[in-house]
């Protein structure tokens, strides 16, 4: 695997060199870190210290127009020739990259989803190795790691003065080509340093859950009253699902403004009672209990049964952001204790 060194002073030049791509980088806005689409990297202040939110937006936008329609012009669907710019997403963490791998099969198997697949193909993900994991991270318990390169095309690791750049995929190579001037070859102790950083990052992940036998466990206790107790403090907002890297549920809506119609897909959340409401008025998941149970089931059972991998990447955002402090780690502990 090719490796390079990028001096920190050259980072913005490195990004500037990617002007043939749509560039997304993490910036601070309203007290949170989001991925912003930027034109001039040199003018931008990057925020590489904290976990960017809503990374999945870049490939699976919250609102995506499937096609447009109009009384006069009829239906117009988008074309997928990849002649238009592909995009580079810089500075995402391993958990988010893994998140894409976990939802890939959902959009690729059975009924391939051209919108997602196209975006996914034409996106290059540049990861940033976590040095200090965040308060609620527990990726190591669910088959991930702060230094995992799964789903990434390049990974950056901060080794003090400079970044250690690992090329993981062919797509990654493309980037190297256009940014070669700013890269140099690593020496021995730089790669040693990189390995150390990676190692103790993994050590630093404090929160743990025990997923051993979890899917069988929760299957047995489906009817248990524990679910109601867990769900009692939930206020059934959509935060945990919207900010989850692996929640992919969407709703399809037709919207007409001034005669111009759009068929859109927008994120939906299984935390809303309306999510499962039938036209008849019947709702199979009428209360928070069923909805929370479904979420945990989806992550820790259904996804494993179907795709052989846990649906949770352990990024901990659902914990950090939850208004009523639902803590999935504590919830799993409670369940395992039964």
């Amino acid at each position: 695997m090719n490796c390079f060194i990028l001096s920190k002073n050259n980072l913005n030049d490195f990004l500037a060199a990617l002007d043939s791509y749509e560039l997304f980088v993490p910036i601070r806005k309203n007290g949170i870190t989001v991925l912003a689409h930027i034109d001039d990297p040199l003018a931008i202040k990057l925020d590489l210290t904290s976990q960017p939110y809503l990374v999945k937006q870049t490939i699976f936008p919250q609102t995506e127009s499937l096609f447009t329609f109009d009384r006069k012009k009829g239906i117009k669907a988008p074309s997928f020739e990849t002649n238009h710019k592909s995009q580079v997403v810089f500075g995402i963490r391993s958990c988010d990259a893994r998140g894409f791998c976990i939802i890939d099969p959902v959009f690729e198997e059975d009924y391939p989803d051209p919108y997602y697949i196209h975006k996914r193909k034409s996106t290059i993900l540049i990861g940033l190795q976590c040095i200090e994991p965040f308060t609620n991270c527990f990726c190591t318990s669910v088959g991930g790691s702060p230094s995992s390169t799964e789903g990434l095309d390049l990974q950056f690791t901060d080794i003090g003065e400079s970044y250690f750049v690992e090329v993981i995929t062919q797509k990654g190579e493309e980037i190297i080509k256009v940014t070669a001037p700013f890269l140099s070859c690593p020496d021995k102790n730089q790669s040693v340093k990189k390995d150390e950083v990676k190692k103790d990052a993994e050590q630093k992940v404090k929160r743990k859950i025990d997923v051993n036998q979890l899917s069988q466990k929760i299957e047995q206790i489906f009817e248990d009253s524990v679910w109601s107790d867990l769900a009692e403090k939930c206020i059934s907002c959509g935060i945990c699902t919207f900010f989850c890297p692996t929640c992919y549920c969407f709703d399809i809506q037709d919207e007409i403004i001034r005669g111009k119609g759009k068929r859109l897909r927008t994120w939906d959340s299984c935390m809303y009672s309306e999510y499962t409401a039938h036209a008849s008025g019947y709702n199979p998941r009428p209360t928070r209990m069923e909805r929370l149970r479904n979420r945990i089931y989806h992550k820790f059972k259904q996804n494993i049964d179907r795709y052989g991998v846990s649906g949770c990447v352990g990024c901990g955002r659902c914990i950090t952001l939850c208004p009523s402090n639902e803590d999935i780690v504590e919830n799993i502990e409670t369940l395992q204790r039964l």
Binding site: N30, Q62, F134, T135, I235, C237, G238, W267, P323, S324
Partner: protein, 325 residues
Amino acid sequence: MDNEKLIAEAKTVLLRGDIVGIIGYQKDSQGFRVSPLFVRDERDIEKLFFSPLCWLSLVNYLTLEKGRLLQKGNPGKKAKVALMVRGCDSKALNQIIIERGLSRDEVYVFGIPCNGVIDLKKIEKMFPDVQGSAQVSENNGFYHVRCNGKSHEVPKEELIADSCKHCVSPNPILYDVLLYTPIVVKQPDYRDIEEIDNMSIAEKWEFWREQFSMCVRCYACRNACPLCYCDDCILERLSPQWIYRSVNMSENLIFHLARSFHHAGRCAGCGECERVCPVNLPLMLLNRKLEKDSKELFHYTVGEKAEQKPLLATFNPQDPDDFIF
């Protein structure tokens, strides 16, 4: 604040027999986090506590799915639910009672004079890597923070939630028992609102455009609001569809205007919407703008009287008409 009084009261209340449970706060094992606690028997009572970290409004839990405690073993609504209520919560509770969402005899209220709560985001930023549980107490203008075995003195201003800075109702307006001593009430301060009022139309538009374009419409602001207790929200309904589902600046703007306008003459000012917002929208600005104008235009203040006519379902022939041709 000492919790003995709280726990003692809780014990006696639970013995009354007509109380199906107590909704209170408990300290979490993790960092500065606090969770609602649903006490059904003595075992949990000791966990009850109150500190400046208790920032969620428990009133929600009375109306969510018509409140599990309320239903549980409480079909005839003979029995009550006891809950811990801060000044702002009590205003919300009072409003819900005015709107017949609950009846006063369904709840037993532990009134808690509250000096403002800490913004979790701020304190977690200031103390990012806290192991185990951390304590916070307040004395004269400083928060005394104990975490990772060390203790720190932090000026109140640095950590207090923005919505609490403008609090004019720290003391409960209704309660069955009042814990702790009442707090001196501040004069209403709308400087933050005036600041925006004084911007040019274009500046305001830019400001809010930025904000609303960040909204992901997770509806946490709505679900966390004690006064949003409709079973299905008119703004989420598909028929008739007031607001499209697509998330973009225009729809978000409409959603937030509609949301805040539904609280005109109702908002208790607890700031729950603002605190829970994952993208930190300054939503209380909207609510407090309406609060300010209702005062100025119609001399209407929420929670002023126990029995209050709804602001927008009533009128006064002398209402302003400067905008009428």
